[in-house]
């Protein structure tokens, strides 16, 4: 039987020792990097802020300003339009109802957000699906056709799918 002498055995153990040390080191580095590179998801808050902002913009002082509910909404409410179209990451939809009648229904371009938000609500893991927030409010509306003020319901749905990141300044495209 081949025998290893004590010196040779110690040399073999040293190699094994450094291998174990290297493994521990890799484990510590990986763990720390994973912990500190974790993403803080602000999409739900961003969608909530957007829905509030649009709601207060179109229903100022409790009265609906229906003229804003069009493509003028971006200028009127101070929103950057490019983020809501093409390769953008934001979405909103405004619905104004008088009972069952839909008086106004206006949305931005990325209409797939609505379905994607429903999907992300029903799933435990849906990291790359957008997050949405909805606000419903009753406001006054002057109906010119009958010359009277009535109460209508505004529903504002807003969605965000922005992740943020590093070195975005080099990216010249929106969203």
């Amino acid at each position: 039987m081949h025998r290893i002498n004590k010196a040779a055995a110690e040399k073999l153990l040293s190699i094994w020792w450094f291998f174990v040390i290297a493994l521990i080191g890799v484990g510590i580095v990986a763990g720390v990097l994973i912990f500190y590179s974790a993403d803080i998801d602000a999409r739900a808050i961003e969608a909530d802020i957007l829905s509030n902002r649009i709601l207060f913009c179109i229903a100022n002082h409790g009265f609906l300003n229906e003229q804003i509910i069009s493509s003028y909404i971006y200028n009127s409410c101070g929103l950057k339009k490019s983020f809501f179209e093409n390769n953008g990451f934001l979405y909103f939809r405004i619905e104004v109802k008088d009972g069952n009648n839909v008086l106004f229904d206006f949305s931005s371009d990325l209409k797939n957000f609505e379905n994607d938000c429903k999907i992300s609500k029903g799933m435990e893991e849906a990291k790359y699906y957008p997050r949405c927030a909805e606000k419903v409010e009753k406001v006054n509306y002057f109906d010119g056709s009958i010359g009277a003020i009535k109460q209508v319901e505004i529903r504002v749905l807003a969605g965000s799918n922005q992740f943020g990141g590093r070195n975005l300044n080099a990216d010249k495209t929106a969203g």
């Binding site: 040399k11 040293s14 450094f18 040390i21 080191g25 510590i28 580095v29 720390v32 990097l33 500190y36 590179s37 974790a38 993403d39 803080i40 602000a42 808050i45 961003e46 802020i49 957007l50 509030n52 902002r53 971006y74 200028n75 101070g78 929103l79 950057k80 339009k81 983020f83 990451f89 934001l90 922005q162 943020g164 990141g165 590093r166 070195n167 975005l168 300044n169 990216d171 010249k172 929106a174 969203g175």
Partner: protein
Amino acid sequence: MNKRGDTIVLETVIFIALNLVFGAVMTVFILNSSYGALIYEQNYAKEIALLLDEAKPGMTITLDMQEAVLIAQKYEFAGQKVSSSDALSKIVSLNKDLNLVTVSLSGRGGGYSYRYYSNYDVTLDSRGIVLQIKVEDKNA
């Protein structure tokens, strides 16, 4: 000491030295990571962007960034340490064309960026550890 003794001592010294080098490298790495620059960059970038999203024209927002300044002072920006009086101008930057807020606490890697959708005119100013954000209407 005989030749065998020399070899044993040399091997032991090399073994201990390599262990010390490994320990030093791990300590430096963990200390650097524990400053939390990566996580604070993301936190502050998103906080500032969301504040801008919520702000209305005529608002002035002040944000205490003491933690960010303390972390940034542990690093070097373009080969120089930052002082508490000029730290914020180096830490926080705004790209008005892309509507991008960038926070860089370690002076390398470009920092973390987050977009704000508000189309108002935004200016940043710093007062020591306090960041002042002014929002005005572009048409005003």
